[in-house]
């Protein structure tokens, strides 16, 4: 069936069966590969995107539930005020190692800073718990979020 999506501010129509995870529509149909497949069961956070500004796991979001919503992916973060600050902090602190989880980490970090502009270390841990990084870049993620908070405050 044809489904209308608003992705990164652009209206798109895709052909997808109901029940198809948003992740695979983004990756396989729209060929936008910044959003990653890590587990398929919403347990690693690599596939995190924003639905109406809220982070969701796109591997467990059915396409029909995303119809009409504003979907935002990592590709749009450079033009997003908080997203750009997080990206800048990530580069300053060289947060990434393999980098495969980092799109999802950044999408979650932006979600956190949107609702809490100055999170404590404990608040970061509580919010970011669901985003796994097998390279264990966690302390730089923590520092990166705090640095982004500073950048936004300045």
């Amino acid at each position: 069936m044809a489904i209308s999506l608003k992705l990164n501010g652009k209206d798109q129509t895709v052909e997808a069966e109901p029940g198809t995870p948003l992740l695979w529509v983004i990756r396989d149909e729209l060929k936008m590969t910044g959003t990653k497949f890590g587990c398929g069961v919403a347990s690693c956070g690599a596939c995190t995107v924003h639905l109406n500004g809220e982070p969701v796991r796109s591997c467990q979001t059915y396409i029909e539930d995303a119809e009409g919503a504003e979907i935002t992916t990592i590709e749009a973060m450079g033009d997003h005020k908080i997203g750009a600050a997080v990206q800048q902090a990530w580069i300053e602190l060289d947060v990434v190692q393999c980098g495969y989880c980092q799109s999802g980490q950044i999408m979650s970090a932006v979600g956190l800073l949107t609702e809490n502009p100055k999170p404590s270390a404990q608040e970061i841990d509580d919010y970011m718990w669901g985003n796994a990084c097998r390279c264990a870049t966690y302390q730089r993620i923590r520092a990166g979020i705090q640095r982004a908070s500073e950048i936004l405050e300045a």
């Binding site: 069966e17 198809t20 995870p21 695979w24 990756r27 396989d28 149909e29 060929k31 936008m32 590969t33 910044g34 959003t35 990653k36 497949f37 890590g38 587990c39 398929g40 069961v41 347990s43 690693c44 690599a46 992916t73 990592i74 590709e75 973060m77 450079g78 997080v86 990206q87 990530w90 580069i91 060289d94 947060v95 990434v96 190692q97 393999c98 980098g99 495969y100 989880c101 980092q102 799109s103 950044i106 970061i124 841990d125 509580d126 970011m128 718990w129 985003n131 796994a132 990084c133 097998r134 390279c135 264990a136 870049t137 966690y138 302390q139 730089r140 993620i141 923590r142």
Partner: protein, 726 residues
């Protein structure tokens, strides 16, 4: 059913415009240069437009060689880091071989910098000398009067961008032995402000991992696998998948190890794989359970070892322990562990218009899949090419002696008419359930102490599943029947222990076994460092002082190991933890680097342990990129601690019990506090950093738990053996 597709032309990249200078080595190792990339597969390519590209022979799984090797070229050519780019090298075992592995291209054993440090600097230095010589000729002066800095050649009253001299420089022979910069002249090597070259792309979604490769007209293939290890497919009924939109076909792989399910999209392939039914032959399938594996290992530890690893007089060592004032004894068990890199395994295979089989892969050991694919298709070596792209982690998993996932792609491709590229994709379940684990291992150690608390005998038995026997690496790394990967970190420890014996017994494998970040050191460091801690406490001697007593020799092995131990003790304020906290320490040499770590915890095993802080000291020779070294220590510590806290792969009647991350829970951000890394200043040659951070982490945690509670954890994971983590 055959797969009917239309053949599409393979786009050739347009030939680069302008002159180039390429510098690398010939197969005999001598420096060489050319004006054509087709004449020489180089380490550095310089264009007449001034562009400089490092050709990086090691793959990038996050450990940093793309930045590190590029830094070496930039340093010798006097460039800033934004004046140079990099590409991953093609597969060529003669030129891009790992000089520590022989005629084989591969990344492993934490050797990327160790084997490239001089090679890439020499290539950069040769390019610099040739450019200077060309400029000297143009300006009628001596090369010694000129210098190359920030992309500009200047001196003798002249100045011009290096690109102007590329064409002329390419006419010269490479100097045999170009002068390298003195460390006092380094601007980039050792500079803590040099940032990763892959940082921006990995933060904005543009970095291309193997999973992100989309070839025109590609199909997705997933493999339906048996539940039991080593069962084989007899027949497949794909009718259940017929209505799945995008499903193409399902066929048994040529080796019958699984069924290839082809589809237009990944989601269709996943659904189709669930919908088909496969009949499996379980005649030769694995039927043992983890409890059987553990029983085999524990029984082996109670018997005389098959191999006497250090050719010790075992009876004399036993007598020394038996006659000691105090005997400390412990039996350790380590379960199977999966690597679980963040990017599930995958690769893409296609046939070019020229009849070349081309593999796109985050390829750790290019030579192995290159040879295996050529042999499988009956092609000469030069009719197979590998394009290496970013890998989303590996921890050893992407390097298998059998080229396992690349050969699955090749076998699946062979079932098609080869007109469409095939992207083989694994799910997380495939990753966790398909074998290739850190082997299950056991150790039994008896340590005898005299009345002063000094060690008088150390009787050490190891039993478990060999990694290297039956692989092409056996010839190199198995000697007198002893798999080095089973015992490294024990008999060769820098500790000067009097009267020590190390015995090894192999036990049968239930799954494929594979090197896992730090290989044998993942269990040997745990045993050595927990035993040292137990001995120190039994002797009533501070654990740092106790260890230092066995590191008094003046060889580098002792002085460097003692050096990191003292440094970490100082930086962690050893012996004076904050109120309510306990400390544990461990130190270990692996991959020629020395790492000591102090783990500081709060809580108790019953009420919940919290890892508050980890302090680390590392001596890895010259620190080429200090920040990447720190990152590797941080990551290595997290990898070691996370798995030993709560992960294991178990089997029930030959079937893996774990499916996905919920039952192989990764370390989470809330599990671990601050990690502080200190690098020992050194003028020694660089050594490994990808793996050495891992081995001391778990024993330091175990020793901290013992300090907090007297609980000694000898079987892992910890949360299965009496520890609750808050």
């Amino acid at each position: 059913m055959t797969i009917n597709t239309s053949r599409r032309g393979f786009l050739k990249s347009a030939a680069a415009a302008g002159a180039v200078l390429v510098v690398g080595v010939r197969p005999d190792g001598a420096l060489a240069a050319s004006g054509s990339r087709s004449m020489l597969t180089p380490f550095v390519q310089i264009g007449s437009d001034g562009s400089v590209t490092a050709i990086v022979k090691h793959f990038e799984m996050g450990q940093g060689p793309s930045t590190g090797l590029t830094t070496l070229i930039a340093e010798e050519m006097g460039l800033t880091m934004d004046q140079i780019g990099y590409d991953f090298a093609p597969s060529d075992p003669q030129v891009y071989n790992n000089t520590l592995f022989g005629p084989m291209q591969g990344t492993g054993g934490s050797t990327a910098m160790a084997n490239s440090f001089l090679q890439y600097r020499q290539a950069g230095a040769a390019a610099r000398e040739m450019l200077l010589q060309a400029a000297a000729q143009a300006w009628g002066t001596e090369a010694s009067a000129l210098s190359l800095q920030d992309g500009v050649i200047s001196g003798a009253g002249n100045s011009a961008p290096l690109g102007e001299f590329v064409e002329a420089a390419a006419q010269f022979d490479a100097p045999a032995d170009p002068p390298l910069k003195d460390p006092s002249e380094f601007r980039l090597i050792g500079n803590p402000d040099v940032r990763r070259l892959d940082g921006a792309a990995k933060g904005n979604g543009s970095a291309m991992f193997a999973m992100d490769i989309v070839r025109p007209n590609q199909m997705i293939a997933m493999i339906a696998r048996p539940e039991q290890q080593r069962a084989t497919a007899i027949s497949v009924d794909a009718s259940g998948a017929a209505d799945i939109k995008g499903f193409i076909d399902a066929q048994i792989l040529p080796n019958a190890a699984g069924v290839a399910v082809f589809a237009e999209t990944t989601w269709a392939a996943m659904q189709a794989r669930d919908a088909i039914s496969v009949e499996w032959d379980t005649t030769n399938a694995e039927t043992r359970s983890s409890s059987d594996i553990e029983a085999e290992i524990r029984a082996a530890l109670d018997a005389e070892p098959t191999y006497n690893v250090n050719e010790a007089d075992m009876d004399a060592v036993r007598a020394a322990v038996d006659g000691a004032e105090t005997v400390i004894e412990e039996t350790f068990y380590f379960p199977l562990l999966a690597h679980a890199p963040m990017e599930p395994l995958n690769c893409t295979i296609e046939e070019t218009a020229e009849g070349v089989i081309l593999l796109h892969d985050g390829c750790q050991f290019p030579t192995i899949p290159h040879g295996a694919i050529a042999e499988f298709f009956g092609l000469p070596f030069d009719k197979v090419q590998i394009k290496t792209v970013l890998a989303g982690g590996s921890f050893g998993r992407r390097a298998t002696p059998q080229a396992d996932y690349q050969m699955e792609a090749a076998m699946a491709f062979s079932l098609t008419d080869r007109s469409r590229p095939v992207h083989l994709v694994w799910s997380r379940e495939d990753d966790l359930r398909s074998g290739q684990y850190r082997p299950a291992m056991g150790h039994k150690v008896r340590v005898g102490l005299d009345t002063s608390g000094a060690i008088v005998g150390w009787e050490h038995r190891i039993a478990g599943q060999s990694i290297l026997k039956g692989t092409p690496f056996e010839a190199m790394l198995v000697q007198n029947g002893i798999d080095f990967a089973s015992v490294e970190g024990t008999f060769d420890s820098p500790y000067q222990i009097p009267s020590a014996s190390f015995g090894l017994t192999d036990t049968p494998k239930a799954t494929s076994t594979l090197w896992w970040r730090a290989v044998g050191h993942t269990h040997t460091a745990y045993v050595m460092e927990v035993m040292m801690d137990m001995a120190a406490r039994a002797a009533g001697i501070d654990p740092v002082e106790f260890r230092l007593a066995y590191l008094t020799g003046d060889e580098a092995d002792q002085t460097r190991k003692a050096g990191v131990l003292k440094l970490v003790a100082e930086k962690a304020n050893w012996g004076n933890p904050p109120e309510g906290r306990s400390q544990g320490i461990a130190v270990h040499k692996s991959f020629n680097s020395y790492v000591a770590e102090v783990v500081e915890i709060s809580g108790t095993p019953e009420d919940g342990i919290k890892i508050e802080k980890v302090t680390c000291a590392v001596d890895c020779g010259i620190a080429v990129n200090p920040d990447i070294i720190k990152a590797q220590m941080e990551g290595g510590i997290g990898y070691g601690i996370g798995h030993n806290m709560r992960d294991q792969i178990t089997l029930t009647n030959g079937v893996v019990d774990q499916f996905n991350f919920p039952d192989y829970e990764p370390l989470r951000i809330s599990d671990i506090g601050e990690i502080e890394v200190h690098i020992v200043p050194s003028a020694e040659a660089p050594t490994g950093v990808g793996e050495p951070g891992t081995p001391p982490a778990a024993p330091a945690l175990a020793n901290a738990i013992a300090a907090a509670s007297d609980l000694r954890i000898a079987s892992l994971p910890m949360d299965d053996n009496g520890v609750f983590f808050a």
